[in-house]
Amino acid sequence: MDLRGAAYVVGAYEHPTRHAPDKSVALLHMECARGALEDAGLGFEDVDGYFCGVDAPGGTAVYMADYLNLNLRHVGGGELGGSGPIGFVGHAAAAIAMGKCNVALITMAGRPRAEGQRIGTERQTFTPDFPFAPWDEHFDWTISTLYANYARRHMHEFGTTSEQLAWVKVSASHHAQYNPLARLRQVFTVDDVLNSPMVSDPLHRGDCCVITDGGGALVIAKPEIARSLNRPRVKLRGFGEYNKVNNGGMIDMVHSGAAGSGPPAFAMAEVTPSDIRYASIYDNFTPMVIMQIEDLGFCEKGEGGRFVMDGNLISGVGRLPWNTDGGGMCNNHPMNRGGMTKMIEAVRQLRGEAHPKVQVGDCSIALASGPGLINGVGHFHSTAILERE
């Protein structure tokens, strides 16, 4: 059994807030769920499967389902980091294909901005039960210092430059200027990024995504239900997931998990990278976009820096329209997790509902891809290929 055509994305909703000091995390999940179900033309009573990550209060779908008052036949989810909502699309499709549920709800939300988190630059604390924690804790590493390591190694092996990294931010900002809800609507130049303060050398502030409150939700349904709804149909055509490990210290720092999740997704979909009209690629830090573009096969390994230059990711300008909502770089990075917004913008593009200034003409096939957790500590990656039917 494969998942091609097993399920459709029938509802997608991005919470409009970017700052939610007056709302609980559970309420944000609830509002996202309601928004996605309204978008689909379904009700809470239609949901019989539910997936969420540890961003849900209580850390499991079981408790959150009580708050949402859902009547479920199937629950899933778990900690897949920012990749979670993309991974859960595949897991929901598998559950639907096996008859475990008909309509699966996926929610993701949080409020790191209201809570004053400095997620990229503050010390990350893992409790002693984490398998790596005794050996990695107390070295004062941060998420941005780890990505700084990956960026520097990529520069060392392939000649990637800070200017090339900056093009990722520049491209996202060209899209974000048309998104009235985007956290950053300023159009960045390469120099703007290079002149921004160094956060974790070699990464500038401009190489980092925004910190925002909010969230989103998706509704995944079996084909018969999708066909009964009065919405453009977005079919799951390919899916892949991969868990990249440290390999006992024989590490590989220049490939992302996309090298593992991309090929099975393309094989299932029976398409190649040149068939992808639009790509949502999770952009927590600029080097991660370059690595994933290479690993998904949009260019040769090591060529990602050159690929993203000169507006090649800008809709209407370049070869690979990417993150047309402004991405995590400029629009939204709710709960420090980027997978949900990647799925949502891919659905908008396939429905023709993206902003007219960034809508890709005849967007028939799109990809959403993203890592979760941290490369070199634990790194899950999932890739979904979606088709407008």
């Binding site: 050996w135 390591n149 190694r153 303060p197 974790s200 050398d201 720092m253």
Partner: protein, 137 residues
Amino acid sequence: MIVDTGSAAAWESDPYVVPWPEMRPFWAAAAEGRFMMPRCIACQKYHWHPRPLCPFCRSSDIELVESRGQGTIYSYGIACTWTPPHAVAFVETHEGPVILTKIVDCDLAELRIGLPVRVKLMPVTGGRSLPFFTPHR
């Protein structure tokens, strides 16, 4: 030789040591200033992070071998928003595994990929000693 029994007691109650009883020999050696690297007797490969089962051939025949304590910087990033800034690095050890660490006692401007470094075991909060690295002059 004066043995500092106070520090030896400290590592034993480190919350990052207590849940991992099988790894106590590593921390005991570290407290004595010896940086041990686990090696599989069956397949002869070193690995990191340490564990009592070989991640490659799955043998439980693991020995702790004192590391040469030398390596080179595989990559690094500088936490510029911290006061003072510091370097978080991955070091490729002489034995093979690449390990996450922090570079200490260095001029941050002198760091580069490939720079030779040597281990410097230092106690951290909780009491266990971790392998920091410093440029090898």
